[in-house]
């Protein structure tokens, strides 16, 4: 059977086997014990030609329902400009490996250098790495980094207002790596800083992890935390949506040592949860504890400006079991999405995205309260594009009823709390329609 990805003709195979000195393809496995050779038919479909593959996915695609998204919770429906897919699909970027051979990888190395610069700029930190898998794992790596960068510490503190999936991921890493993790309870929808400060007094805390915008959408006031954790020689890590950092106080401005989070809101489609792109940024003093790939500027032997993977002596392929992290890749192509997005948006575009999201979210917030079916959950707490309300309707039922009508909204947050999110993609008409629909939902 012919197959377009295998170029071998029968004549090729015959000639190649001759040079090798074996008689058949099977004989190439002569040393493999016969009992482990799989002789049966694989339980797979028959080989499909390209048009059938397309049809298969088109059919699968129909089993998904496209909803109008009024929900965030770690994945944000921002607009992704047309330039991005045009550039991303270039084979020179798409089909390249990690840029080990710098001489023929300057394209990848340069955009990563730009990405590092942009992430450092948005987070207000000195430097950033070439990216991590996603936000949850970037937070886990931030905590591994805090453990490695501090001495004689045995645990970390995580704010209970962090997104639940991030807390769970960090806790998995903590459990197996072998350090303690305590979740600090919330107070009125925000991190209980008093209780955090009390825990810090024990002196055994390597790092604390707090959100700049929390799971309820509230912009947290992180003042005082940096001082509190630095007194006991621990580190402050702040988790953020970098899109909103264009307008709200940055991890750097809060005095953070490490900034982490997911850059999906910067031009990456929802993709049912991935691939996204985590980021990890820090103060320069900590750069040698920063995990992952890092690109640096240098020159070549002719004196030309050039870029290269650097500080490799931190990494697993050199340090083996002594490396602080086992990561050996980055989400390079997703970092390119972000880099192109931020190039197009620039300072003003990022302000506009946030103004539109803010305006829409506050409009929806007001309209929902007017329906009488919602009340403030955290009175007066500031938010940007995402907010949480208490509802008098059964939360799960409300959520399901809206989904049935084509809206992803009112994400149940436990008790009778529901979360909403509005990005620049949502129009006044869509918001009004959603509100009218909610008015019809019976208790």
């Amino acid at each position: 059977m012919s197959f377009p990805y295998f170029p071998h003709t029968d004549t090729d195979i015959k000639g190649m086997l001759e040079r090798i000195g074996v008689k058949s393809l099977d004989e190439l496995y002569g040393e493999v014990p016969d009992e482990v050779i799989y002789k049966g038919d694989y339980d797979l479909p028959d080989a499909m030609p390209e048009m059938e593959i397309r049809r298969y996915f088109e059919n699968l695609d129909k089993q998904n329902r496209r909803l109008t998204v009024f929900c965030g919770c770690g994945a944000y429906d921002h607009y992704s400009p047309a330039v991005i897919p045009a550039i991303i699909s270039r084979g020179e970027f798409l089909t390249a490996y990690t840029p080990y051979q710098a001489e023929i990888s300057q394209g990848t190395l340069r955009y990563i250098f730009e990405f590092q610069t942009m992430i450092a700029g948005l987070t207000g930190m000195d430097c950033a790495n070439a990216s991590m898998y996603d936000g949850a794992t970037s937070a886990a790596e931030a905590m591994l980094m805090a453990m490695a960068a501090t001495k004689k510490k045995s645990r970390i503190l995580v704010s209970g207002t962090m997104p639940a999936n991030v807390i769970e991921t960090v806790s998995t890493y903590a459990k197996y790596h072998g350090f303690g993790m305590d979740v600090i309870p919330e107070d009125g929808g925000v991190t209980d800083k008093k209780s955090m400060a009390d825990e810090l007094l024990a002196g055994d805390v390597a790092g604390i992890l707090v959100p700049s915008v929390n799971r309820y959408g509230i912009i947290e006031d992180l003042s005082g935390l940096a001082d509190a954790v630095h007194v006991s020689k621990g580190l402050l890590a702040v988790y953020s949506d970098p899109s909103v950092l264009a307008v709200i106080r940055t991890p750097g401005e809060w005095g953070a040592d490490i900034a982490c989070g997911d850059a999906q809101p910067l031009g990456i489609p929802l993709n049912f949860g991935g691939p996204y792109v985590g980021f990890l940024a820090c103060r320069k003093e900590l750069v040698r504890k920063l995990p992952g790939r890092i690109v640096g500027a240098t020159t070549d032997i002719d004196g030309k400006r050039a870029f290269v993977l650097t500080l490799q002596a931190r990494e697993q392929h050199i340090r083996r079991e002594k490396a602080n992290s086992n990561i050996c890749s980055n989400q390079s192509l997703m970092a390119l999405y972000v880099t192109i997005y931020l190039s197009l948006m620039g300072k003003e575009g990022m302000r506009r995205v946030n103004d539109l999201s803010y305006g829409g979210a506050h409009y929806l917030h007001k309209r929902l309260l007017e329906t009488g079916k919602f009340s403030e959950a955290f009175e007066g707490k500031p938010f940007l594009k995402e907010f949480t309300l208490r509802t008098s309707l059964p939360a799960e039922k409300l959520h399901a009823a809206l989904a049935a009508k084509g809206y992803l909204a009112a994400m149940p947050m436990g008790d009778d709390l529901v979360s909403f999110c509005v990005t620049e993609k949502r129009t006044r008409e869509e918001i009004d329609k959603l509100v009218e629909l909610i008015k019809t939902v019976e208790p």
Binding site: C127, T169, I301, I327, M334, G349, L408, M411
Partner: protein
């Protein structure tokens, strides 16, 4: 390839714009955020037009080499062709617009894909169940080791805190073990890189959680004593972990489950043709034997009797390792590839990869030193030139290959030899391409004798030449604003 020296920041002009967004018609804007919570510093983002952006990144792409550009014989990286239909299906809007927290009933297509791919990987590897959540090979390794630990912990076997790793293993293995809180015990390999079973026997006791192995090993040689090793490790209560980095030659030929492995990870970006993207996104699904299924990370997908798909967890799960459910569109690409292979073509995949590797090896072993002259699988290792008198190093050879339009092989790994050149051609390369590569490698061996200085200064024809890595590491410049 043409040298192009701009960074996007250097194209910036105040007041230029590359975005196209609606005017803000809302009464309230982000400037209403109270001052103490507002950003004070400048974002320092560039201000460029859309044509600026397109030209800039197109120019950057012209300084890159990909599988689409040319032959990429990078050992242990399986740089096979990345089919274009995979890209097309992965960008279908119904998937691209799917929010990860949509109700199950509105995401049945995505959940079915997750389920079907898991089943296909089970069929291909002989493992009972899969989690597709891990993002990359290293992440799969870490997840697999977490499952290994959870298995022992759940059985109350708390003293198993050490894991055996061969000295020839890739650095990721010991690093993953350490991140997982396991102590690494190194088992020496024999001169051909296979595991010394006598030495292994002396290491096995009730503190051993398991062993991490690649098969074929880092020299591309099949571990022929694998069944004995499995029996020994199981006999002492340990588990066998299969690092799927080298699975490609076994694709369609040998299933790790049948060799006695309990846990494995696959690299979809290697064996299953998804593009490497300049370093990611990849995908590192983890498969386990049935007695370990309940320890797989959550969330997972299950199919009920009515054919509906549900997101589930398990009380005994090793935990959550990802924000959502992995690099989903990468999973779609891998499944498209599996559908194209089907039960027919898969039988040839590993064998043709093995054929290509042996063909290069046999064609070059007279001028490059072949430390282990046996049948290899998907890859093999030379220890530099056969004639060492010229002083030409593996680095020189690698850099010279760039001049001739080929990507370099993996170099200085494995550490078993001083001048390792690790070559993996994959099954998607034609005999003509292999012949062209062989002829260039022979030419380089000749140049080493006649004009070694050309090799020492190589590359000559690339956008930039050898770099000053020492200064880069000594005084790191990591952002544009430090330049």
């Amino acid at each position: 390839m043409k040298y192009y020296d701009k960074l996007i920041f250097e194209l910036s002009q105040n007041g230029r714009c590359g975005y196209s967004l609606p005017e803000c018609g809302w009464d309230e804007t982000a400037t209403d955020i109270s001052a103490c919570l507002r950003r004070e510093s400048d974002t320092r983002l560039p201000e460029v037009s859309e044509p600026d952006v397109v030209r800039h990144y197109t120019n950057l792409s012209n300084m890159n080499f990909g599988v689409d550009t040319g032959f990429y014989p990078l050992g242990s990286c399986t740089m096979k062709y990345n089919p274009k239909i995979n890209e097309e299906v992965a960008s279908m809007p119904g998937f691209a617009c799917l929010h990860p927290l949509q109700p199950e009933s509105t995401a049945q297509g995505a959940l079915q894909l997750y389920h079907d791919l898991s089943k296909a990987l089970s069929a291909i590897t002989g493992m009972a169940e899969f989690s597709l959540n891990p993002f990359a090979g290293a992440h799969g390794e870490l997840t697999g080791l977490m499952i290994m630990r959870q298995y022992h912990l759940q059985r109350g076997d708390v003293g198993r805190t050490r894991v055996i790793v061969p000295d020839s293993a890739h650095g990721t293995n010991p690093a993953s073990a350490a991140v997982c809180g396991l102590e690494v015990v190194v088992v020496k390999s024999k001169p051909d890189g296979t595991i010394d079973t006598e030495e292994l026997a002396s290491l096995l006791d009730e503190t051993i959680a398991g062993i991490m192995m690649t098969n074929p090993n880092t020299l591309g040689l099949f571990e022929t004593e694998i069944l004995k090793i499995a029996e020994m490790v199981h006999g002492c209560g340990g588990l066998l972990y299969y690092d799927g980095a080298n699975f490609n030659p076994l694709l369609g030929k040998v299933r790790p489950g049948d060799m006695g492995f309990d846990i494995l990870h696959l690299n979809l970006h290697k064996t299953f043709s998804t593009p490497h993207g300049g370093g990611g996104p990849g995908s590192g699904p983890v498969g386990v034997a049935s007695r370990l299924a309940e320890y797989l990370p959550y969330p997972r997908v299950e199919r009920d009797d009515d054919g509906c798909y549900h997101i589930v967890g398990s009380d005994k799960s090793a935990g959550r390792v990802s924000g959502f459910m992995g690099n989903f569109t990468v999973l779609m690409k891998a499944y498209a590839y599996i559908l194209s292979l089907g039960k027919q073509n898969i039988k040839k995949a590993g064998a043709l990869a093995t054929l290509n590797a042996n063909y290069i090896k046999e064609s070059l072993k007279d001028c490059y030193k072949l430390p282990v002259d046996k049948l290899c699988k998907h890859e093999f290792v030379f220890d530099g030139l056969a004639d060492k008198s010229t002083g030409v190093t593996t680095l020189d050879i690698a850099k010279r290959l760039l001049d001739y339009g080929f990507h370099a092989p993996t170099i200085y790994f494995p550490l078993l030899f001083h001048q390792s050149i690790m070559i993996e051609p994959t099954e998607t390369e034609s005999k003509e391409t292999l012949d062209a590569f062989v002829s260039v490698m022979r030419k380089i061996a000749e140049e080493a004798k006649t004009e070694p200085e050309v090799l020492r200064d190589a590359p000559h024809n690339t956008p930039v030449r050898r770099l000053d890595e020492t200064t880069a590491a000594k005084h790191p410049i990591l952002t544009y604003f430090e330049l």
